[in-house]
């Protein structure tokens, strides 16, 4: 795993130096509109989030559960288009030092052209990409282009990932490795289960310096549980639901609460 000039790695390491796991918050771009996405992301940054993840709404989000699907369907129906992601990223990075990763299914990137997409993302101040349906095996172009523009490439590993794939995926990643906590899709769960810990341990054993856990995390208690063994905790659905139900103030309040769970050695 290459650490060279990685914004995402720096954010996780900063949290580590403070005795914490990094808190990573996800919101889809354009839900309910672009200005609100920026405002909500800045509220996350001001309330304990170390790294911001912004999703590109996509017509066929196979890894997403109902809450995120509904939000992205709404964003697309309201007219969100892929190039607006760069406005969102620019809007956030011009107002905070907290780095921004873009989470995207691969076809919109392919359609724009991987190089074009990467260059515009870098120009907007983005840190890199999280790619839920791109595995390193198919990522030759993205590997080259992300090197060229110094972008992070966050690949996923899952409870089903074989030891060989664990090694190759860790090797291909930059910034951190995204450990999928359960076999399933995004959505709040009451418990993330033992599989998450095994994924993190396996990824660490395969050489990953930073492993962050996502899928199903929705409460400070879950954050606290995961923070004990992982380098970062990713919260998505719960934040989307908060924004849906209570707007930006609810996002701020939830982040504040979640961030109380990130301590590595809770007293």
């Amino acid at each position: 795993m290459k650490t060279l000039s990685s914004k995402a790695a720096a954010a996780v390491e900063k949290a580590r130096s403070e005795g914490r796991a990094a808190l990573i918050g996800y919101l889809p771009a354009g839900f309910p509109d672009v200005p609100t996405t920026i405002e909500a992301a800045l509220a996350m940054a001001a309330n304990g989030v170390d790294l911001i993840e912004i999703g590109i709404p996509y017509s066929d989000p196979v890894m997403d559960g109902r809450v995120i699907q509904d939000a992205t369907v709404q964003a697309l129906a309201a007219g969100f288009t892929v190039p607006q992601i760069f406005d969102v990223v620019r809007g956030i990075t011009s107002a905070t030092d907290v780095p921004v990763l873009v989470m995207t299914y691969w076809n919109p990137v392919m359609r724009m052209g991987v190089r074009e997409f990467a260059s515009r993302l870098a120009e907007a101040g983005g840190a890199g990409l999280i790619t839920p349906d791109l595995i390193p095996d198919e990522a030759a172009e993205w590997m080259a282009v992300s090197d060229e523009f110094g972008l992070d490439r966050v690949f996923l590993v899952a409870p089903s990932t074989s030891p060989a794939r664990m090694r190759s995926t860790v090797e291909a990643s930059r910034g951190f490795v995204y450990g999928v906590s359960v076999m399933g899709i995004t959505g709040a769960r009451t418990s993330v289960g033992a599989a998450a810990r095994a994924v993190v341990d396996d990824a660490h054993a395969a050489g990953a310096e930073r492993v962050c856990v996502g899928l199903g995390v929705s409460s400070a208690a879950q954050v606290a549980e995961i923070a004990r063994y992982a380098d970062g905790v990713i919260v998505g659905t719960a934040l989307v639901a908060a924004l849906r139900d209570g707007g930006v103030p609810a996002v701020a309040a939830l982040c504040k609460d979640l961030s109380t769970g990130t301590g590595k050695n809770p007293s």
């Binding site: 996509y58 017509s59 066929d60 989000p61 196979v62 890894m63 559960g65 109902r66 699907q69 369907v73 697309l76 288009t81 892929v82 190039p83 691969w106 076809n107 919109p108 990137v109 392919m110 359609r111 724009m112 839920p132 349906d133 791109l134 595995i135 095996d137 198919e138 690949f155 996923l156 590993v157 899952a158 409870p159 089903s160 990932t161 074989s162 794939r165 995926t169 999928v180 076999m183 399933g184 899709i185």
Partner: protein, 453 residues
Amino acid sequence: MTHQHTGGRASEPAAEIDGDAAAAFLSHEGRPESLRHAPGPYFGDYGGRWMPESLIAALDELQETFEAAKADPEFTAQVAELNATYAGRPSLLTEAKSFAAHAGGVRVFLKREDLNHTGSHKINNVLGQALLAKRMGKTRVIAETGAGQHGVASATAAALLGLECVVYMGAEDTRRQALNVARMQLLGAEVIPVTNGSQTLKDAINDALRDWVANVDTTHYLLGTAAGAHPFPAMVRYFHEVIGEEARAQILEQTGKLPDAVCACVGGGSNAIGIFHGFLDDPSVRLYGFEAGGDGVESGRHAATITLGRPGVLHGARSYLMQDEYGQTMESHSISAGLDYPGVGPEHAYLADIGRASYEPVTDREAMDAFKLLCRTEGIIPAIETAHALGGALKVGQRLAADLAPGEQPGDKVIIVNLSGRGDKDVATAAEYFDLLPDDSAEQEIAKEGEQL
């Protein structure tokens, strides 16, 4: 939407396509000597595994199981036995003499997949995959379905082999195809209406994939067409290769020679790749895939993926894709639910690019004209999907007849059409289309909705 092509297939006149295709194929430039049995994961630039990591282990397991099964005489014997004693294979090759009079007078033969158990080619694939599911020790299969053909076939195979079966189907389709939902339920399957996204076949696939990620230990995803992530395209083709093998032997026996053209409809591409496969290495045989032209490709309301799409990734494979300028999947439109899919199998994308097969759109209207013609001339009611192949075959026959060498007769030319399914499921749609239902009848209400598929 911009239409950039690696080749100019769609926009050129048909005669030129044929000449170019034959020349490109014969030149053998940079491709393997044989096109048969292409193993994947890639078909030229297409195919692969554009899939979440969570599913890669399951795809690996499936691939290993499939490779081992193919090499295991016990498995191949099991498939052959089910094909012979359950599905009803070999299917007939029927000469359609009266229909042929409308196809420039060339000889037309129908490969009768409509006579298979459950009424279409789909049974070939589901029996094979259900056997693989059992070999993997899985107890549950899931499937997607549009109008219900693949769902019914999957429920059938699951009932036969003692597997639990869950079918994902667009919520709209469950209402329009209430009888097919009942068929699946009679066979013991659970039908889950899909209310996500555009609530169509592609969203049913999305939901099936979401189910698969969460239940992969016990569950096999029984994908219904030759698309998706490796090994699905090569595996689904393998189970349908029997169509082409039989057709090739039957046509040689009945006419003493190879056909001039083989025609099939293309949704995801399973019936087409199955029959094409038998003739891939016969350069004199032209292969035609007919896509759903809907209201006409210029209308924007169609499912002509290869004709008008451009390369992209959807549901695990890189292939031609109907997408907007931002890479969002576009909604397809066709009178035929089974062709109403914005993607297409990757092997077809490759065969199109190298010019081995030609893909052309057939509109709803052309398909329905051919549908009626086959009913009236041959006493066979085809599936509306299949009617697209018939509509295309009429044009191919007329072109062959217009392009004869000196001394040749139209009757020297031979076309095989893959009659992929029977039309019982489509009677309501067709009756409404041809205005056969009394006003305000209950059937008319149902059919009205069905027609908008």
